[in-house]
């Protein structure tokens, strides 16, 4: 039993949901610098195109294919008042559901869930982003860090959704 103190714990769904809900709140509240602390040093943020949802960003044109440095630059940009597409910031409200832990070992977790993100902006109709997120999460000591968040939007085209100028 003494060995178990050196083995990272296996997480249950409720703990993972707490982690995801915390992340969602930071994103909705535009606390993006705090959100960055949830990411692993090699984190990636991927939004594939809807016609190739399983594509690889090295050979497929994505909507977003950020490495960790690009994510940091994206946050700098989004928080800049000259990011016109998000100034004033959209009001975001995301709902997560159907959380499933697809696999888990001592170091990593693969988690998937459905989401709806409502976005309100000046003079704009409400925009509703619906889709599935798949996360690769690494266990670092007692903390969870996001290594990859892959967002597949259900709409065949972005259509009336317009830009994804905020963080999905």
């Amino acid at each position: 039993m003494t060995e178990s103190t050196h083995t990272p714990p296996l997480y249950g769904r409720a703990e993972i949901e707490d982690f995801l809900f915390h992340e969602a709140a930071l994103l909705d509240e535009w606390k993006l610098n705090e959100w960055l602390t949830l990411l692993a040093p090699d984190a990636r943020y991927l939004v594939p195109p809807n016609d190739v949802p399983d594509g690889d960003p090295a050979s497929t044109l994505f909507l977003v294919a950020d490495d960790a440095e690009r994510i940091r630059q994206r946050v700098i940009r989004i928080l800049d008042p000259n990011c016109h597409a998000e100034s004033p910031p959209s009001r975001l409200r995301r709902q997560l559901s159907n959380v499933r832990i697809l696999s888990q070992d001592a170091q990593t977790l693969t988690v998937t869930f459905n989401f709806i993100c409502h976005r309100y902006r000046r003079h704009e109709r409400i925009r509703q982003y619906v889709g599935k997120m798949t996360y690769q999460i690494s266990k670092q000591g007692s903390e969870l860090k996001i290594r990859e968040r892959r967002v597949v939007l259900d709409s065949h085209e972005l259509g009336s959704l317009g830009s994804v100028s905020f963080l999905l």
């Binding site: 939004v47 594939p48 195109p49 809807n50 016609d51 190739v52 594509g55 960003p57 090295a58 050979s59 497929t60 044109l61 994505f62 909507l63 977003v64 294919a65 630059q73 994206r74 700098i76 940009r77 800049d80 000259n82 990011c83 016109h84 597409a85 998000e86 003079h123 704009e124 065949h156 085209e157 972005l158 259509g159 009336s160 959704l161 317009g162 830009s163 994804v164 100028s165």
Partner: protein, 425 residues
Amino acid sequence: MPYIIDDPSNKRFMLNRETLISPAVLAQEQDKIFAKCWIYVGHSSELKNPGDFITRKVAGHPIIFSKDDQQQIHCLLNTCRHRGAVVATKPAGNARRFFCIYHGWSYKIDGSINRIPGSDAYDPSFPQEEHGLRRPPRFESYRDFWFLCFDPDAMPLADYLADAKFYIDLILDQSPSGTMEIIPGTQEYSVSANWKLMVENSVDDYHLPTTHSTWLNFMSNSGVNVHNPNKEAGQLLPTKGYAKALGNGNFTTDNINFRGRPVAHWIPLYGDEAKTEIESMYEELVERLGPERAERVANTNRNLVIFPNLVINDGSSVTIRTFAPNGPDKMDVTAWALGPVEETTSARARRLDAFLTFYGPGGFATPDDVEALELVQQGMANWRHDPWSEMSRGMNKPEDQQLNSDEHHLRIFWRHWNSLMQDEK
């Protein structure tokens, strides 16, 4: 009121804002612009094998873009000859025939009629074989770019492209075999703005320092020198470029490169490991094309407009972007990345990464363009009381001195648009 006021003696050009908001103007455009001009359909590389097909809207028309067993490429109206349903419903695929789910009429991949169920109910004089899918009267290509035209009397595509062919050739010189391909992955999005605002925005370099300051910051944070190498009084742009008319309403900007090119100008954003490969690509250009043409290919950027609605951005990557009105105050945009067929895995990945630094609905610049265009459209609600947009920049200079930050190229577009709109049907 006229659509434009073009007054060279007073060096003024103004645009009637009604052109950006009126349903009546849009209806006229359907007849006089979209039914008369050559409209981009797709690229040969999108259809690899016999039986491959793609369905898409071309200027609002549902079409099928397909390849038959003889490798012939077709453009078919995706509307059943019987009662008018769309017959091909998948976005893309490989098929032997298209089958209408309503009454079962079916068509071969080249559009010819395959079978009419219960054809014994028609009189023997009924010309069954004449009921293949309709096709636009004209369908032609230039170097793998396919265009349709609904006007049977239109000039040939090659004549229509006029001097734009020089710039298309210049872009394709990036490939050792002169062949480029559409890279998988389509960016589709809509903008709540009139379609003509996207034409203006795609070539308007005046807006770069204001609209895209966060992108310039990002480039600067990535170690790219964004300062103007030869700053002129009053010119805020990072480099000097020109705007050029190419005939038939086509035009381009022609700029000296400063922000890196996948073929072939290295910048720190690409990473140190990419330096050798990009240098060898430059050497290949020199060997194949000579030093002068190599420099032209590798170190000049352009935003090329094929009138009315195709934009090829050849800068940090090559984008093919087309857009069509979906009402007077909304447009649907489709964009692809184009790359040399010979491109290595590492060069392809670099090209796609560079694309996303600027372009697309999740890029570091395009969302702010979308915002600017939507703000213009919202401002148009006052058109009756503030009817003129100002477009006179550069009119105080001769044509060969028109900069990319002037509005000469916007005036080229609007003058051509205006002349077509004045035509009798």
